[in-house]
């Protein structure tokens, strides 16, 4: 394994660990935590620290170390979890996540909040009364611990920092097996963890070491005897070795405090000797810490997403192929009740089963995304001085993994906006008769083949007057425009719109909401706003279950079959006489509910058909996409509404204006999928430079 692939594994693991961490912390702040939860949190931080050390990530390791100390005290119940402590612990998890991210991006920067949170943690850990903590802290700084041998003499000095005056003294005999090193564990890290517990004296037994010529570099020859003294329990020591259980021979024996027996010869105080923990598995002792036996986690499989994509693609083909065969068999005139038809039906069901199964591989709960948003909300709350109560609903709802990733940016923006603009300050809230703590709720649910994700706050709601005034000031709407509430709300998505009076760090650069809209629409989704003054706002995002499949309307234009994404279609209209009025020599507008919408021929825009079709005899599809104005496109016919599998055109050909992708229909033919955003824009441009422009380009 190369260093790079090791690192990739490390960051993938970190992601899982951070998820476990935020999950545990969420349970803690809900008050639903049990000792195992605290242990899980501790383990997560500990593991990140451990592997981080192996990659020389100093910032990460030193931060995780202090964090771990505080968590350890919570675990040992020497530190009460007050709301203040909880807040610090939560913030620390954010910093830790940020550190991991920075390490991954190799920016070499430190997260802004790191110093402050670190100070808070240090303060907490001294409150909690970590006996010999501070002294040892300086004795060895957590420097990079690459995969190299470390001077043993350095370790010998570890003990010098403290005197052996603890309440209890344990003698630990530790003989690693080859497998311990093969699993990238490092005894030094274990000893350092021990040194966190109390004063340590480490002695190394090199007797087993063969002559140089016979050394197998991968073999384990050394064993150590470590004496730990201080206010420590057997469980705490056991916890240090938790990760190397089964990879070493380990004996932990309690010594009398006063006696200093020779190494390897533990005195056994009348029967109180604890049986050696021969780290063979999740055995024994009672006591809270011991309930920490890691819950048997179901093994998971890491698969290259490309492989899954290929599989999804192939399964898409299978479905199409099945449809083609069905059509042909039906066309051949075989009786409906024949055996072949029954088998063919089975084939269809199986193919769909496979498709669902394959899609499920890519499906992921939105929970990690929501947890990330919880972090964003906390950061935003801290930055604006607002107290935010973050609530998640339906976080186990599954959506396509790629959607989870692509939702991060728009969601971040919505959450920040909600905290920054939506929620009022504590004083304002109290004045309005609300609890001073603002509510921010993220919810997800499946709704008829779609996923609905909402960001809801109970803040002041949208200030429509202000929005309208701003839009007029920015020249986005005419001065005397009469807009409905929904139309005013939608102005938020207009490019270059920002209502923030001062540009804050968080939001208000005015590049946000239109980007959110564009991004959501590029995923085939829609976003809607509902808001009530004084009660709050709700942004709801509706997304398809997967990116590979698109809900489309199949239309015919100039003899060609095209697909319009359903997400952009407002309605379809068969115009009556008088609904369409001419405008200029070639133009037409559709009069619909008091508004005038330009009518353009889809065939003409795409250069498929230059003949001027009478728009009154065709079917109109009223579309709106992105920040573009609504347009009614005329098509010859609407034939179907169905899910289509998207196929890239760019792989073998290139980008085509007005076309986003292609798909293969049931008869094996290719149909182009229209890009509504581009078509709306091209419609307007076409107005300015009529007809000639099609074939030339």
């Amino acid at each position: 394994m190369s260093m790079d692939s090791l690192k990739a594994t490390f960051f993938a693991e970190c992601e899982d660990l951070l998820d476990a961490l935020s999950e545990g912390l969420a349970a803690m702040s809900d008050g639903t935590a049990d000792p195992e939860t605290v242990n899980a949190i501790f383990r997560a931080v500990h593991s990140i620290k451990g592997s981080g050390g192996a990659f020389g990530l100093e910032d990460l390791v030193s931060f995780a170390h202090i964090y771990e100390n505080v968590l350890d005290q919570i675990r040992a119940e020497t530190l009460d979890v007050t709301p203040a402590v909880m807040k610090t612990v939560l913030r620390a998890s954010d910093v830790l996540a940020a550190l991991v991210e920075e390490a991954h991006a190799e920016t070499g920067q430190q997260p802004e909040a790191m110093a402050a949170v670190k100070a808070e943690l240090t303060a907490l850990s001294s409150v909690g009364g970590a006996s010999s903590e501070s002294g040892l802290e300086d004795a060895f700084s957590f420097e990079a611990l690459p995969f190299e041998a470390i001077e043993l003499s350095d370790l010998g000095d570890l003990g010098d920092a403290g005197e052996l005056t603890g309440d209890a003294r344990y003698q630990i005999t530790f003989k690693p097996e080859r497998a311990l090193y093969e699993n990238s564990h490092d005894p030094v890290i274990l000893f350092m963890a021990l040194a966190d517990l109390g004063d340590v004296v480490v002695e190394c037994d090199t007797d087993a070491l063969p002559v140089l010529a016979d050394i197998d570099p991968a073999e384990s020859y050394l064993s150590w005897t470590v004496t730990v003294s201080g206010d420590v329990s057997r469980e705490e020591i056991g916890a240090v070795f938790e990760f190397v259980e089964g990879l070493c021979t380990l004996e932990i024996a309690l010594e009398e405090t006063e006696t200093l027996p020779p190494v390897g010869d533990a005195v056994e105080p009348d029967g109180a000797v604890d049986a050696p923990i021969t780290a063979a598995g999740p055995s024994e002792p009672a006591g809270k810490a011991r309930q920490s036996a890691p819950q048997s986690k179901r093994p998971t499989l890491r698969v290259d997403p490309d492989r899954v994509d290929r599989l999804i693609n192939t399964v898409g083909e299978l479905i199409i192929n099945q449809a083609v065969i069905s059509q042909k068999v039906v066309a051949s005139g075989i009786a409906q009740n024949s055996d072949l038809m029954a088998d063919l039906d089975d084939y269809g069901f199986l193919a769909r089963d496979i498709q669902e199964g394959v899609m499920a591989i890519r499906a992921q709960p939105v929970k990690p995304l929501f947890q990330r948003m919880a972090r964003i909300a906390r950061e935003a709350g801290d930055a604006t001085g607002k107290d935010v109560n973050f609530v998640m609903e339906g976080e186990m709802t599954e959506i396509d993994k790629s959607l989870v990733e692509r939702l991060t940016d728009p969601m971040t923006h919505l959450v920040r906006n909600a905290v920054d603009h939506g929620l009022e300050t504590g004083d304002e809230r109290r004045a309005a008769g609300k609890s001073s703590q603002g509510q921010l709720c993220l919810s997800a649910e499946h709704r008829s083949g779609h996923v609905m994700i909402t960001v809801r706050d109970d803040g002041r709601g949208l200030n429509r007057e202000k929005i309208l005034a701003k839009a007029i000031e920015r020249g986005l709407v005419a001065k005397d425009a009469k807009l409905s509430e929904a139309e005013i709300d939608n102005l938020l998505f207009a490019p270059g719109f920002s209502t923030a009076e001062t540009v804050t760090n968080l939001s208000g650069r005015g590049v946000g909401m239109d980007v959110v809209l564009t991004e959501i629409q590029s995923m085939g989704g829609r976003i809607a706003i509902s808001s009530e003054p004084g009660k709050g706002s709700e942004f709801s995002i509706s997304l398809p279950l997967t990116l590979a499949v698109l809900d489309g309307m199949v239309v015919t234009v100039a003899g060609q079959t095209l697909v319009l994404p359903l997400s952009c279609i407002i309605e379809t209209i068969r115009p009556r006489t008088g609904d369409i009025r001419p405008l200029g020599p070639n133009g037409h507008v559709l009069s619909i509910r008091g508004a005038f919408v330009p009518v353009v021929s889809l065939g003409a825009i795409l250069g498929l058909d230059n003949s001027c079709v009478d728009p009154e005899s065709s079917v109109l599809v009223h579309i709106q996409s992105g920040g573009a104005n609504p347009v009614a496109v005329s098509v010859d016919d609407i034939s179907d509404q169905r899910q289509v599998v998207m196929k890239s055109l760019e792989a073998n050909y290139g980008a085509i204006p007005g076309v986003s992708a292609a798909t293969i229909l049931g008869d094996g033919k290719i149909a182009l999928i229209v890009d509504p955003d581009a078509v709306s824009k091209m419609a307007i441009e076409a107005d300015e430079t009529p007809i000639t422009f099609e074939l030339e380009i």
Binding site: N313, T314, G316, E317, I320, Q560, L606, G607, L608, K647, S648, L649, A651, N652, Y653, G654, A655, I656, P657, G658, V659, A662, I664, G668, K669, I670, A671, L672, E694, I697
Partner: protein
């Protein structure tokens, strides 16, 4: 795009010979994925005249190009008799519509002559060499040069 492999004088190279726009051409066999019958394609908006459209090749969407038109020899009106040669160019798959595919030729490297300059600017540059076949002549097409100028087939 990678540089074409230099052919050694004593090397035997296999070509598929074909007819497009009434002239004989050949394409190195290693560049050819498969040969199919013509089937109707889906035309693309805003494409160059020699791009006929796209077709479904077992789930991949591949563009079909009229080789004769591409070489300036006039457009072919495709019928069921016409043939599509599916070629692979670095990471892209493209179909070439030709009049007919004739045979597989094995030619020694030294028998491939370079094409003389005839003062034409057209896509004749994509003719990498000439070989004598029986009593006629076949033109060796360099697909990289043929498609290099229009890396994006979109105009």
């Amino acid at each position: 795009m990678s540089e074409p492999v230099e052919w050694q004088d004593d090397q035997n190279i296999e070509f598929v010979s074909l007819i497009a726009g009434g002239q004989g051409f050949c394409i190195e066999i290693t560049e050819i994925r498969e040969i199919r019958r013509w089937s109707p394609v889906t035309p693309l908006p805003f494409s160059q005249p020699d791009v006929l459209g796209v077709m479904n090749l077992r789930g991949s969407v591949i563009p079909i190009i009229d080789l004769s038109a591409k070489l300036g020899l006039g457009a072919i009106t495709p019928t069921a008799r016409h043939v599509i040669i599916v070629v692979v160019l670095s990471d892209r798959t493209v179909g070439l519509l030709v009049d007919a595919v004739s045979e597989i030729l094995t030619i020694q490297g030294e028998n491939i002559r370079s094409a003389p300059n005839t003062g034409q600017t057209n896509d004749i540059r994509s003719i990498r060499g000439l070989v004598e076949v029986g009593d006629g002549m076949s033109r060796v097409i360099d697909l990289r040069i043929l498609f290099n100028d229009s890396c994006d087939l979109v105009a």
